[in-house]
């Protein structure tokens, strides 16, 4: 509490715009990647910025105060989570507890869910119910991997995990926890809602789910939500497995590498049914993560 001052406030405001811009940049690049895989030219890489500016400048409709509150809470919660992700070895708040990150992310999801289900469109709510059901599938593997690392280092601070991998390629956790890395890659796909786990959006089935009633600045916030989510989740994986980074451009490159992999999978996969998706996550990601946890636990005894 004592270190709250004007400088920190400025830094945090900077970080909130950093997280949004990085995410938007990735979204544009991701569309380009998908287009190239499908042999299209694709939009320019800054397209996502244009989309957001346009959305914010248009007039929009709302149904009630809960919708406004929910959307603001959603983006606010996710940006607050982004503050706890160490960026290139720098934790702006001086703390990067993984438990805080995992739980603070939920307030973003809760806000989003609340905002769109207050719009009253059942398609939106069906999308949310699918997203939450899927959450039960991917959270458990991620938690198990985090627990495995916690066993090794006796700390649950993300920055500790990142700094422990310093000193070269061979120290990266990909090689120390290979099963865990596979598990988190599968879970990450579900976390982002990309194919084969894109039940939440499913445009042809439920009319883009949560996004169905969003217009104008609400849609803009929806875009920004996805952008910050990208920043947070790729940042999480880079810090957990890819050795973090000491310079900002290496960190961004690593983040993009993670997203790039995800986009490539997304471009060529079909969608599971929801219960198949959860079962698949438990069966593969869950088993791999459990094995990893067992191996680490036995090593620690």
């Amino acid at each position: 509490m004592s270190n709250i001052n004007g400088l920190l406030t400025l830094k945090l405001i900077g970080f909130s715009f950093l997280s949004m811009s990085v995410g938007l940049l990735f979204m544009g690049l991701g569309r380009k990647v998908t287009a190239r895989i499908q042999r299209r030219l694709g939009p320019p890489f800054y397209q996502a910025f244009l989309d957001v500016f346009k959305a914010f400048s248009k007039s929009s409709i709302t149904h009630n105060y809960v919708m406004d509150l929910g959307m603001i809470m959603a983006l606010g919660g996710l940006i607050a989570t982004a503050f706890f992700i160490p960026f290139a070895g720098y934790a702006v708040l001086g703390s990067s507890s993984i438990v805080i990150i995992l739980y603070l992310m939920s307030i973003g999801y809760l806000g989003m869910a609340m905002g769109v289900s207050a719009s009253g469109n059942p398609n939106a709510t069906i999308g949310i119910s699918r997203a939450l059901a899927l959450m039960l599938g991917y959270e458990i593997p991620i938690v198990m991997i985090v627990l495995a690392m916690m066993l090794t280092y006796g700390s649950s601070d993300l920055l500790t995990f990142a700094t422990a991998q310093q000193g070269g390629f061979a120290n990266w956790h990909i090689f120390k926890y290979p099963l865990g890395f596979l598990a988190i890659e599968i879970s990450f796909q579900a976390m982002l809602g990309e194919a084969p786990y894109d039940h939440m959006i499913a445009p042809a089935e439920i009319a883009s789910g949560p996004m169905v009633e969003l217009s104008g600045k609400y849609l803009g916030i929806g875009f920004l939500l996805h952008a910050v989510q990208l920043y947070v989740e790729t940042g999480l994986i880079v810090n957990l497995f890819l050795g973090g980074a000491s310079t900002w451009y290496v960190f961004l490159l690593k983040q993009f590498a993670v997203y790039f992999t995800s986009m490539c999978i997304n471009a060529v996969m079909a969608r599971y049914r929801i219960e198949q998706g959860i079962a698949h996550l438990w069966k593969y990601a869950g088993t791999l993560a459990l094995l990893q946890l067992f191996i680490t636990r036995l090593g620690v005894f």
């Binding site: 509490m1 270190n3 606010g76 503050f83 703390s95 719009s119 916030i221």
Partner: protein, 625 residues
């Protein structure tokens, strides 16, 4: 120091409760509320007065000099304080709730129950503990029953389970008394700790009996089903008390006896798994299973009160897992979560009672959209579920974080995974309740529903504050917790008002709240700077080009609420969720069969002939005839 303030806190409410039977109903609720205000004052007046006691001498007992009564303890005071604060808020709620249409006659009984509850927390010896424990069971049975048939059945089920627990308690008290010759709680604990080395079997049996007694009361596996019956059928305003405070008696018992025994017993007395004594290791797993089980059942419930009752079971599971680590951090986490759960579950049940007060509906999917007409109730529920899901910056996060720190300290990673699963599941069912009751379409028949009255609103606002403050400043609860730890000889948790040090990392509630508020402010600014917004009708929705008139669109039909998590239900088909209940039912049936057998022998036509033959045969056999 012998003082009359303790009996005033314990016996006072009982007497006032008995007296208030004489008054009309409306007056009874006022008396109930006023008594709770006085109690709050009295409880904070006795804070830190370590030497306070009040003992009766039982000179007419044939055994050596026996005393019985109440005494101050830090642990007891902690429970007394949080339960009194919560009860005061609940009583304010009840004062508004029990109007002409909804009034129940439970106020005097509730007051007696409050007295018994205070008596449990201030118990000096087992004799007194047992007396107030029994009075608590009896009064709560009468309240849950409150004269309705279905409720009474739920009450009987609850009572039968607690009866089993009470027998176990009596047995263990007797076992201690037989060896030590007195009923004092403190000396009993020391004796048990010493016995764990010399006579491990004896110590284990006594501890197991205690654990059984407290598990039945706190609804830990395999007694996890009674809250879903009792909490759901109890009067709506009483459910908050039942779920917030009464479920904690078992936790209190475990913290009072079982954990101190393990802490005081010699290190090598029990085998240990990663530093946890084996019996506690098992209770930890039972608690973790309870947490997961309660969560799955909550996901499947469509009755909002049942859903929250299952959620209570899950939360008791978290607490049990924390205290089963046997560490000071686990002890502190259990106390902290106990306090937080009391307030957030109280808030949730209070807001659900408010919903039922206005709509008369309990099935979630028949409701919807109430947030637009009942904003205070909605915010109470919203903060309640944020706290219950353990999301920062509310109180539930701080205590859940501590529970994890306690588990991490002992490297209990698999139990932690189980608790994480329960916690994620909690998010699922809590959001479902939020959506189906408060969001989505508002049915036309509820369009004219109004916010509840001032007493209920004030009570809910108070509960909201009690969820917000410990989330930002965990020290408000953890400092009293530290004095409990100190009085029991445990190591204290390193904490300031905002800062808490765990086993693997530290958190600062102030920083988290600051980060969240700042981020929300930035987004709010963006939101305000964005284009104009226009408010439209709820039914004015995107419908993929269909005309809603073609399929007779109504708000009810357009509300997605039933079978919310159908995919998960499909996934969990293989889990025998009702298995334990089925076993109990079979046991009950066998008992009835046995009873019928005996019954048939004495009744029915021509039976007397057989009885005559059997009697003569008996007499011949005995050589009389």
């Amino acid at each position: 120091m012998m003082d009359f303030i303790l009996p005033a806190i314990v016996i006072g409410p009982v007497l006032i409760g008995l007296l208030s039977f004489l008054f009309p109903r409306k007056m009874q609720w006022l008396i109930f509320f006023l008594t709770n205000i006085v109690l709050l004052g009295a409880v904070f007046y006795i804070r830190d007065r370590q030497n306070l006691f009040f003992l009766f001498e039982l000179s007419y007992f044939p055994v050596n000099k026996l005393t019985m009564g109440m005494a101050y303890s830090q642990l007891g005071w902690f429970f007394l304080a949080i339960s009194t604060v919560a009860t005061l808020l609940f009583s304010a709620f009840s004062l508004g709730f029990n109007d002409k249409k909804h009034a129940t006659a439970i106020a005097p009984l509730w007051l007696i129950l409050v007295g018994a509850s205070n008596g449990i927390f201030m118990a000096h010896d087992w004799l007194w503990f047992f007396i107030v424990w029994e009075s608590m069971s009896w009064t709560s049975l009468l309240i849950i029953g409150h004269g309705r048939n279905k409720s009474f059945k739920a009450g009987i089920f609850y009572y039968l389970l607690s009866l089993a627990g009470t027998f176990a308690l009596l047995m263990s008290i007797w076992l201690i008394f037989r060896r030590t010759g007195n009923f004092e709680i403190g000396s009993g604990i020391l004796y048990l700790a010493r016995a764990s080395e010399g006579a491990p079997l004896y110590a284990l049996v006594v501890l197991a009996l205690f654990t059984l007694a407290f598990f039945t009361k706190s609804a830990l596996f395999p007694f996890h089903m009674w809250p879903s019956l009792a909490h759901a059928e109890a009067p709506d305003d009483f459910s908050a008390y039942l779920s917030g405070i009464m479920i904690k008696y078992g936790i209190f018992g475990l913290l009072l006896v079982v954990i101190p025994v393990f802490a005081a017993s010699p290190l090598h007395a029990f085998k240990a798994v990663s530093g946890v004594p084996l019996p506690l290791y098992f209770t930890g797993w039972i608690s973790a299973v309870t947490a997961a089980w309660g969560t799955i059942m909550a996901i499947f419930s469509s009755d909002m009160k049942k859903l929250m009752a299952w959620s209570t079971v899950a939360n008791v599971g978290y607490i049990g897992a924390a205290l089963s680590t046997g560490t000071s951090l686990g002890y502190a986490a259990a106390l902290f979560h106990t306090a937080n759960h009391m307030f957030f579950k109280g808030a949730i049940f209070a807001s659900l009672a408010a919903v039922k007060y206005r709509t008369g509906e309990r099935e979630m999917h028949k409701l919807g959209g109430l947030a637009y007409v009942m904003p205070i109730t909605f915010f109470t529920f919203l903060l309640g579920i944020i706290a219950a899901a353990g999301i920062p910056p509310l109180s539930g996060f701080a205590s859940k974080w501590m529970i994890f720190q306690a588990l991490f300290e002992r490297k209990l990673v698999f139990q932690s995974t189980m608790i994480f699963f329960a916690s994620t599941g909690a998010f699922l069912y809590l959001f479902r309740a939020l959506h189906t009751v408060f969001l989505g379409q508002l049915p036309r028949r509820f369009a004219k529903v109004k916010e509840v009255g001032p007493f209920m609103s004030l009570s809910m606002t108070g509960l909201m504050l009690l969820m917000l403050i410990p989330g930002t400043a965990p020290g408000t609860v953890l400092k009293p917790v530290n004095s409990v730890l100190g009085s029991l000889g445990f190591e204290q948790v390193k904490t300031g008002w905002f800062f808490v040090q765990g086993s693997t990392t530290a958190i600062d509630g102030g920083i988290i709240t600051f980060a969240f508020v700042l981020a929300v402010a930035v987004v709010f600014l963006l939101f305000v700077l964005g284009g104009k917004k226009k408010k439209v009708e709820m039914l004015d929705n995107y419908t993929s080009g269909e005309t809603p008139e073609d399929w007779n669109l109504t708000e009810e039909r357009y509300h997605y609420g039933n079978k919310f998590y159908q995919p998960i239900e499909v996934l969990f088909k293989w889990v025998p969720l009702g298995a334990v209940e089925e076993k109990y039912r079979q046991f009950g049936k066998s008992l009835v069969r046995l009873g019928n057998l005996i019954h048939d022998f004495f009744q029915g036509q021509r039976v007397w002939g057989w009885q005559l033959v059997a009697g003569i045969a008996l007499l011949i056999g005995l050589g009389v005839m």
